[in-house]
């Protein structure tokens, strides 16, 4: 693989529509960006927002969730449940300063192999333009920063304590005088 | 309703009667046309075949002018202009390379193309923005008894059937009916008028015009109504040559806007009707 940075895209595809669409894209030999890693779930309704957050935290630059079109869910309405969570999660992500394009929900039916290609390519390019999210590195950086701050605080406290101690001595000296 | 107006060369030259009838008729219907400032040739010549890039840039300059003028829509009454401007937009949409090239060229004269300005034909505007009913209400002198063959020509419905069917357009039919005219149904509505050939292969071009006129006459038309200055000229100007080679098929070919003007009660000479070679004769008004 070339050395330059490549976006990492984790996808959760529902078994019945989007995973099958990705299979169809394969059977049809449609070519798309190799940056996506698909994890199969039975229904987009199974996608816990924690999965998305966890993927980002572990180094994904973006997360794609694929489900059946509204009205077509194999389990009646799991995709609607995902949609609700998705909107809530989007708000949270915004507050966390994570760009909107990094998490996307798409309805892709079993017949829409071309849409898998289109969405994966689009997202890969968007993520490439956004650059790395790099949460694991940031976590480390933050950890170091916290440690640094802690060390600073510790040092300052030690200094203060020393100063206070010295002050007391001098004060004592004054009173003694 | 306000539209940018791209007259093109024909409406200022051989097709002057089209402009002379179009402007008062649209004004009468409350449609405001504002002529583009400093418009140039649409490029409907052999240019496209010689140099696509330059031809596109030429046409695109007019689109950019429309954008600069703040027009939401641009009206191009000449079929050739209408087609070329539409075609240019399609080219720019489909080919990012072409768009870069054209935008670069326009940039050197501080013009830009940042949005789509729909290019509309007056027939489309009249039918879909003004509406047949509004037109019918303005008719004061119905064209009763006048049998008109609607002739659309090749370029308004092909290849982009944006507002009517490609094989059997009917928008002008509806319009003419609203004017009180009798519409002659014929299968040659979109056949070639021969216009592009009269200069290069005169016999072939004339034959096409002859066949059209002959068929319209055979089906009992008193006149042909057209939407294109090239068709109008071609069907109107060569009657002597046609008669010499085949047979006389004298039949007036007029702009649909001229018929609208007449039906709205406007005097014939204000509609450029005196410019035609074969004069249009209206049937005597029947006692209403």
């Amino acid at each position: 693989m070339n050395k330059e940075w490549q976006p990492r895209l984790v996808a959760f595809f529902c078994n019945w529509c989007t995973y099958t669409a990705a299979d169809l894209a394969g059977v049809s030999r449609l070519k798309y960006a190799p940056n996506v890693r698909v994890i199969r779930v039975m229904c987009s309704g199974r996608v816990d927002p924690q999965f998305i957050l966890d993927a980002l935290a572990k180094g994904a630059d973006g997360v794609l969730v694929g489900g059946c079109h509204p009205g077509d869910c194999h389990y009646v309405e799991g995709n609607y449940k995902m949609l609700r969570r998705y909107h809530l999660l989007k708000r949270m992500l915004k507050d966390m300063g994570i760009e909107e394009q990094r998490v996307r929900l798409e309805w892709i039916s079993a017949a829409e192999g071309h849409k898998v290609r289109q969405v994966v390519n689009e997202m890969t390019e968007q993520l490439r333009a956004l650059g790395p999210l790099g949460l694991p590195q940031k976590f480390e950086e933050w950890d170091r920063e916290v440690e640094r701050l802690a060390a600073d605080v510790h040092a300052r406290e030690a200094a203060d304590a020393a100063a206070a101690c010295a002050g007391r001595t001098s004060a004592e000296e004054v009173t003694h005088a | 309703m306000k539209y940018g107006y791209f007259p093109g060369c024909s409406l200022k030259g051989t097709g002057r009667a089209y402009e002379e009838s179009l402007l008062p008729v649209l004004r009468h219907l409350g449609v405001e046309l504002v002529e583009l400032e400093d418009w140039n040739c649409c490029g409907a010549t052999a240019y496209m075949a010689v140099d696509e890039g330059k031809a596109c840039a030429l046409a695109a300059r007019n689109l950019a002018l429309a954008e600069r003028g703040g027009f939401q829509q641009l009206m191009a009454p000449c079929s050739a202009c209408y087609l070329v401007l539409n075609k240019t937009q399609h080219y720019l949409d489909e080919s990012p390379a072409m768009r870069r090239k054209v935008e670069g060229a326009l940039g050197t004269v501080s013009l830009k193309l940042s949005r789509q300005t729909p290019v509309r034909h007056p027939l489309d505007v009249l039918l879909h923005d003004v509406g047949v009913e509004a037109i019918r209400q303005k008719v004061t002198r119905p064209l009763s008894g006048l049998r008109v063959a609607p002739y659309y020509g090749c370029q308004v419905v092909r290849p982009y059937a944006t507002f009517d069917d490609q094989a059997n357009p009917t928008s002008m039919d509806q319009l003419l009916k609203a004017l009180g005219a009798e519409v002659v149904d014929w299968p040659l509505k979109t056949k070639c008028c021969g216009g592009s050939l009269t200069g290069t292969l005169p016999v072939a071009g004339l034959r096409l015009a002859y066949l059209l006129l002959k068929e319209a006459k055979k089906r009992g038309a008193d006149a042909i109504a057209t939407v294109c200055p090239l068709c109008q000229f071609n069907l109107d100007a060569y009657h002597d040559k046609i008669a010499a080679r085949w047979e006389p098929v004298r039949l007036p070919t007029v702009y649909f806007t001229q018929l609208m003007g007449l039906a709205f009660g406007m005097p014939a000479h204000t509609l450029g009707l005196q410019r035609g070679f074969v004069p249009l004769e209206l049937p005597a008004p029947t006692a209403a």
Binding site: A25, V27, K58, A60, D72, V76, G78, R117, P136, F139 | -
Partner: protein
């Protein structure tokens, strides 16, 4: 960059012994993915005691290899990286089970459909295969032993659509002693085939081969025939579907009507004057009618839209007015079969399997104005001509122009109307070449007319089809290669006067031709029915981009759908001729039969359960379940999932605020490990 970035791998206390296999699939995978490298890499992962690459894992030797290795290397988990799990997961689970392990101690990695077939760069594809494999290794280490659940199959099959496909499937199942419910929207079964006169290429009479099958359906003790009825709701899953059927009022008691048709002769309308749908509008019928003589069931129907005994109600629907003299009721006499009080009824049935055979609709020729259908009276559709050549049709078997009497002297048949065309439908409708030639033969036989076929390509890939084409060439039918530009009444020469002129570029002669004819026949293509999308939703199926129902696999599961227990047959799946339709109907019946005879379906054990200790009793999961599988145990203040009702979507699992619901096969730990696995690459 290998800095480990906080990899807090939550390894199970003791890693099970994992065996890994990567399949070459010939060159399908190995052509793009470096399989040996993937095997080498996975061999270095913790817990992997064996890692192999092999040419064809799904082959018998491949499966035996797994079994042998389980014993030899004491494997406790198996991962295979090959094609889509939708294709071969079952194969490998079975192999693992035969090797002595729980079949769910297995996980599959899709490196063909999702990798080698969609990527081109070998290095990138190989890296992706490594990532996916690593995720699977992480996941499988956490798999738990599971048992599949057996659900009994209700031994009744619902067949939707009473065309030749539905008829054949119904008889196949019924003859095997199974119960069948056949639902048909029209007043009679028979479908499109009942309208045909002859069938290609043998030219045997359609009615002669179809009507015995129709009567057999009507008389079969194992078939319940519900005509003039539609499926409106489908609930449940394979083995146990609850289906609601709307039974439209035909104003006739089907039990009492004997099909004597006395009511039809007695109707106050002395002459038939309403459009006869069965005859493609070429004929007329009365308000009380039987679609055609061999209709099944032999029961009349009353069309309330035109019957004088009805009027428009306030909501636009037709209500009984009792204004008619009701001579029909009089004629029916003691039989008392006419019942104007009939109302629409809904009936609920329970079935185990469903065969959808809803057929096609013919392309609407008016969508191509250049061919003049609807504008020029003597332009006909092929179905209209089918009715005309039929001896029991509206013209008594005479092919005549729209005036009803003149026989055409020249006929032009235009192929590919609404087929193979970017502007309409892109697909080849498969049957038009053959039926056009059949009609050419029949028209020539009936009228001795000169017949021209205008074609793009002649497609005759069937038994005896090419021979039929040659026979037509011998008979002197003309074939002109070229897509017709237009049909016009514009005459240029005296011979063209009063004729329809077909303008076509003859691509063999290299000239544009004008061919004057008396009659034009449009060989309209086949397209999905206009309500195919609604039907698809009803049965939870998928449609291809063109709108035909999608089979589970184009080659290996051509009559199955993505909804288990729902099968498709006939032209609703794609254009096809009668032999193929019948073959498919038989296949669908066999699929249903194999399920019924097995008696049960094995369900994926991917159901959810509640960890009672952790459930806070918040009840937020309860309304999420579309199957009402979650109950609240008031006494203990906990949610409880009824495993028998749970379908395994996992929606409640994803929503539980306390994380106390677990889905088998897809539990949080497994998915988190998979996420970590795919991302742990450096």
């Amino acid at each position: 960059m290998a800095n480990g970035n906080g990899n807090n791998r939550t390894s199970p206390e003791r890693r099970p012994r994992i065996g890994f296999y990567v399949c070459h699939c010939g060159v399908n995978i190995a052509g793009t993915v470096d399989c040996a490298e993937v095997a080498r890499y996975v061999g270095t992962l913790p817990g992997v005691v064996l890692s192999r690459d092999y040419k064809y894992m799904c082959s018998d030797p491949g499966q035996e290899l797994i079994q042998k290795d389980i014993a030899e290397y004491k494997l406790e988990r198996v991962v295979v990286a090959s094609c889509s799990p939708l294709l071969h997961e079952h194969t490998f689970r079975t192999a693992v089970e035969k090797g002595g392990l729980n079949p769910f101690f297995f996980h599959m990695v899709n490196i063909r459909e999702h990798n080698s077939w969609v990527h081109t760069d070998r290095a990138e594809a190989t890296a992706k295969a490594r990532d996916l494999a690593r995720a699977a290794i992480e996941r499988v280490a956490r798999h738990k032993p599971l048992e599949t659940k057996r659900v009994p199959i209700k031994p009744v099959t619902l067949i939707v659509g009473g065309g030749i496909a539905g008829i054949h499937a119904a008889l196949t199942l019924a003859n095997a002693g199974k119960q069948v419910i056949l639902v048909e929207r029209e007043p009679t079964i028979g479908g499109h085939m009942a309208k045909f006169d002859k069938t290609f290429p043998t030219l045997d009479c359609a009615a002669c081969i179809l009507t015995p099958k129709m009567s057999a359906v009507g008389a079969h003790p194992n078939i319940r025939l519900l005509t003039y009825s539609e499926v409106v709701k489908v609930d449940g899953f394979v083995g146990n579907y609850k289906v609601t059927i709307r039974r439209k009022p035909r104003y006739i008691d089907e039990e009492k009507c004997v099909g004597c048709q006395d009511c039809i002769s007695a109707c106050v309308f002395k002459q038939p004057k309403f459009t006869d749908e069965f005859n493609e509008g070429l004929g007329k019928r009365k308000p009380v009618y039987i679609p055609f003589p061999q209709a099944t069931p032999q029961v009349v129907a009353i069309d309330s839209n035109v019957c004088l005994n009805f009027r428009n109600g306030p909501d636009g629907s037709r209500v009984v007015s009792d204004k008619c003299k009701k001579t029909c009721v009089e004629a029916c006499g003691d039989r008392n079969a006419i019942d104007f009080t009939q109302k629409e009824r809904f009936e609920e049935i329970e079935v185990g399997t469903i065969i959808v055979a809803t057929g096609f609709q013919a392309f609407d020729a008016k969508r191509l104005p250049a061919y003049g259908y609807g504008r020029y009276p003597n332009v006909f559709t092929a179905l209209e001509v089918e009715r005309m050549v039929n001896a029991s049709g509206p013209t008594g078997g005479h092919v005549v122009l729209r005036d009803g009497k003149t026989e055409p002297k020249t006929v032009g048949i235009i192929h590919c109307v609404g087929s193979r065309d970017k502007k309409t439908n892109r697909w080849c409708s498969r049957v038009c070449c053959m039926y056009s030639m059949k009609l050419a033969h029949l028209i020539k036989e009936h009228t001795h007319a000169e017949v021209y076929n205008f074609y793009i390509d002649i497609r005759t890939p069937g038994k005896g089809y090419e021979e039929f084409y040659n026979q037509l060439l011998d008979e002197g039918v003309h074939f002109v290669r070229g897509r017709v530009g237009e049909v016009t009444d514009w005459a240029i020469t005296p011979e063209e006067e009063g004729k329809l002129v077909i303008r076509v570029e003859d691509t063999l002669a290299g000239v544009v031709r004008r061919i004057p004819v008396d009659m034009v026949v449009l060989a309209t293509g086949l397209e999905p029915r206009s309500d195919a999308q609604e039907v698809r939703r009803l049965f939870n199926m998928s449609c291809g981009s063109e709108g035909f129902f999608l089979e589970r696999h184009p080659k290996l599961a051509p009559v199955s759908t993505f909804n288990d227990g729902v099968y498709i047959a006939g032209a609703c799946q794609g254009p096809k001729d009668i032999p193929d339709t019948v073959a498919q109907a038989g296949a669908a019946a066999a699929e249903a039969l194999s399920l019924i005879d097995k008696g049960y379906v094995e369900q994926e054990p991917n159901t959810a359960f509640v960890l009672e200790d952790e459930c806070s009793g918040c009840k937020s999961c309860i309304p999420l379940c579309p199957y009402s599988a979650i109950q609240f145990d008031d006494a203990r203040g906990k949610a409880v999932i009824n495993e028998a009702l749970c379908k395994g979507c996992g929606t409640c699992v994803g929503s539980c605020p306390s994380g106390s619901i677990v889905q088998n096969l897809f539990d949080d730990e497994e998915i988190f490990s998979e996420i970590e696995g795919v991302l742990a690459y450096e």
